[in-house]
Symmetry: C2
């Protein structure tokens, strides 16, 4: 069913899922519903935007890593369509309750925040008494005490309440920590504009997921899991931070606001170093972010006293709040990660924004005291805090910084496109803005094309456009299903996914069919953006990536703008 | 000739005007050269943008009001193509020297500013010794002392040096005051990014303008002037401020950040009141902003001691720094105008930005002390000053204000589109961003269509799309020629203009031909914007104009977004 909630009238409707949406889920459903239902030119934080929350097509099932939850809306950061997905426990629970999507419409006139309680019994809208201004950790804690430790909480921190464009939506993990974030594109600000502080998901008494062929579904799932586990050893052992040394060696690790591609102190922020530290302090170097995850690339990072500090300290956070700000103190980066999770902030956008502020001369790179001051400005909602809250592009404009690594208003990620050209193409072309999660092309993760294992391959322009397109399409398949992208990507997966959908729903899809769904999804997103005024001509990277050589290997991004503009012109 | 100056290499080239540009001038030339020469996706303040300065096709001639100077570049405010034109003496002088355009390319690596000396002898590039950080008044004064009182000065103030997106380009008037501004779109910031503080134009020893048929040219000019003068009595007598009472009576005077359409104290900021005050203090209620102006809508406004305070106190300045900020003290508005001229700021963008800041709760509307404080922030380049320097849209985003009257990143003007629907269509559709100067549709100035004299006519949606298109096209004709729009608009003018071009250049144009030039110009600008990523889908007004009724007449802007998007889709 679709749950439709009007936040002005407080009317809740449960609608049968229309036939046309039957084989959609996750990003497939959020983007399609936004295209179908909202005016693409609407004000992102106004009454006419909608927030759509959807588990994947395989959400709640026994498929490995299938619990991701998509949150979509028109983005206050990019002005275009946005979907951001995260792990945690809410996606699976919503699927089990039978919720295909929660559509949040309009906005209240009054200023007070609400919470939503979603369960098999329906939806309740209650005042968010005592929660306003609270961080995600305290919010989750209060709600778990009230509604039971087993509930999932989807929430926003002060950043989302204030409408910061870098505000995330938090989802509680298996320990109840609000550590999983739909980080990108300011989805937290849209949730805040609807005056929703939190959504409690209670799947107590929910019926079991129905399969047309449960046995077959579980067989395929098991084979897949067994196949994946040995392939992902690096992720399991070191988390995504296993990329620090790799990307540093490629000369593509954002360093001091993307002015260099290698960080002298990379070793101190590497996955290997982090693992050792986590183990010494009794944390968990390998941790599943949601039930059914077989890769367990998350972690629990304790402080020096052995107390919980943060969870899911990831590569992008380390690269952008670390090397990109000249910071090599992993404990400090973990503290920042905890702050971001609690305050409800995208660590990537913050890291790029801080790098821009440092470049403006406000603070030297690597100055921890000054970074603490800057975080204080955010907390206190000072003018500088408000400015930071609008992300890197606006901060750069106001402070007069020209080198701002962003596309369509959104900061890119922890991969300098000069060293990783295909990821650069994804930044430049995805309807999601400068977002690696739409199709990241790394040596270890483009295994379906053996030649990409050659490290140098990805620093050369040849074949990158095609690679980026393939990766964006395959990524969209995982996103539709609520599957973690780290399962693949592989062409074998496309077939597995088709078979799983068939076994669950009694349809008869081929691998090509699911790829077709993904292509249609991207086409829908491109159409939305075109209608929003964000045409394909807005594809492209900032000029400096093509004019400033990136040391130490002196790479330039050398794929023509014309190719970026033409990228999605004809088809996907 | 075209003078091409590379600010990195300091190379100056004089090029023969290519045949294809022979019948272009002013905005026609700036926009066409930008489309031909720059990458529309370039960074506005980067090396790849160009600043093009061009007198009109009839610049320097005996045609009435023909001395306007166009300044064009990709705009840091809108991200699209921009042309802004102003009066003063430089346009005519450049034309007399034989300069069709000055094209300023690239940017220096060093930080120091330069000045350019343009004369019949050529171009010199000199260090701007002692001028950096100076206001336009002092800058002009120093340069006039050095190069002679008769030179014209085109300059930027501190705002342009700092790269503020609301920075204007100043042009000295007939008294040598830098009071005429190419205000819109941040052209001053682009000039600043090229590290040019001022351009001195010295037409000493310049040859006389050549006419193919001088006698005929002068006859047509004389007839035109004689025809215009009686039609424009209101402008001559009260300046553009004659609109205050009119627009107030239409219920379309922006008041307290566009929350109301009528201002209780309108009388105190009216043209009638201003005229009386100017006369009492020995100023000039009617003043020509450039040689050959027969309308003389400018003025010289003295302070209470009878000393010069500002010149060209105009309607838009009064509406946006006055009623839109809740201010009814005309002396204070005149002081602000002087500050803006000196600091090099667009009064309109500043007025809208201040209205947004007031709405955020920073200061009550009408609080002069607080406004003085805000101006102090700008002067001191504090963080709030820098934010204001980026204009209303970014200020609104950072301060969380939803009601921001802007289109394509640029604040609109002193005409609420709910009461003046056709002007609203122009804001929504012109490639220039929210800019009334691209085609303002007022009762007194749409005389070529008698029905528009009916005041109510312009508050209704019928016929507004067609009216706005006609006005945008006709306005472009005046802009190409360097003519003041206040001459018309009329269909008769199109014929007069064709005849004048014929008499000057020995061609054989019809009225339809010059209209064709204007249509092609707008088409070029739309093409530039499309390539810059600013598609026709970005046409449209902010949502609140269609959802919040404007008192006292409860007007809504009720022309569909679809019509705005389709406006220039097929042809001009």
């Amino acid at each position: 069913m679709i749950i439709r909630i009007n936040m002005r009238t407080k009317l809740v409707k449960q609608e049968k899922l229309p036939d046309k949406y039957q084989l959609l889920g996750g990003r497939g459903l959020t983007s399609r519903m936004l295209l179908d239902e909202i005016d693409p030119t609407c004000a992102p934080l106004g009454a006419n935007n909608k927030l759509v929350i959807a588990p994947g097509l395989l959400g709640g099932t026994a498929a490995p890593c299938s619990g991701r939850l998509s949150v979509g809306a028109k983005s206050p950061l990019t002005g275009g369509i946005k979907e951001s997905n995260g792990g945690g426990t809410a996606g699976g629970k919503l699927a089990k309750i039978g919720v295909k999507a929660i559509v949040i419409e309009d906005q209240p006139i009054e200023e007070n925040f609400c919470i939503l309680i979603v369960s098999s019994a329906g939806v309740r809208i209650l005042p968010a008494v005592g929660l306003e201004g609270k961080g995600n950790y305290e919010t989750a804690n209060i709600l778990q005490k009230k509604y039971g430790a087993a509930v999932s909480v989807i929430s926003i921190g002060p950043a989302g309440e204030r409408g910061y464009s870098l505000a995330s939506v938090a989802i509680t993990d298996m320990e109840g920590h609000p550590s999983r974030h739909c980080g990108r594109g300011g989805m937290g600000a849209v949730m805040g504009s609807k005056k929703i502080k939190a959504i409690v998901v209670d799947n107590n008494e929910a019926p079991a997921i129905l399969y047309q062929n449960e046995k077959l579904f579980k067989e395929i799932s098991k084979e897949w899991a067994q196949n994946v586990i040995p392939l992902k050893k690096g992720l399991t052992e070191y988390g995504t931070a296993n990329l620090v040394n790799l990307v540093n060696s490629l000369g593509a690790l954002p360093t001091r606001n993307y002015s260099y591609g290698s960080f002298t102190d990379a070793e101190q922020i590497s996955g290997e170093y982090m693992k050792q530290r986590i183990e010494e302090r009794g944390g968990k170097p390998s941790h599943a972010c949601h039930p059914g995850c077989v890769i367990r690339c998350s972690n629990i990072y304790n402080d020096s006293k052995g107390n919980y500090l943060t969870s899911g300290l990831e590569y992008e956070t380390i690269a952008l709040l670390g090397s990109n700000c000249g910071i090599s103190d992993l404990d400090f980066i973990a503290q920042l990660d905890n702050f971001c999770d609690d305050f409800g902030i995208d660590t990537m956008e913050l890291g790029i924004t801080l790098g821009v502020i440092m470049e403006s001369g406000w603070a030297p790179f690597g100055d921890i005291d000054k970074m603490v001051e800057l975080i204080g400005e955010l907390k206190k909602d000072t003018l500088l805090g408000k400015l930071m809250g609008q992300g890197a592009v606006i901060t750069g404009k106001v402070l007069g910084v020209q080198r701002v690594a962003a596309v369509k208003g959104q900061g890119i990620s922890g991969y300098d496109p000069r060293g990783l050209q295909a990821t650069g193409v994804t930044y430049a072309t995805t309807p999601m803005g400068g977002d690696h999660t739409a199709g990241n092309c790394l040596p270890g993760r483009t295994g379906y094309r053996p030649e990409t294992k050659d490290k140098d391959f990805l620093s050369k322009p040849e074949g990158m456009v095609e690679l980026a397109k393939d990766m964006q399409v395959m990524t969209a398949v995982y996103d539709i299903c609520g599957l973690c992208f780290f399962l693949g990507p592989s062409e074998d997966d496309m077939l597995r996914i088709a078979k799983l959908i068939n076994a669950k729903s009694g349809v008869n899809l081929t691998a090509q069919d699911v790829i077709g769904f993904a292509k249609q999804l991207i086409k829908d997103e491109v159409e939305f953006n075109e209608k929003a005024g964000l045409s394909q001509s807005s594809n492209g990277l900032p000029e400096f990536f093509s004019s400033e050589k990136l040391g130490p290997y002196n790479y330039l991004f050398n794929i023509s703008k014309e190719k970026m503009i033409q990228f999605y012109k004809k088809d996907c």
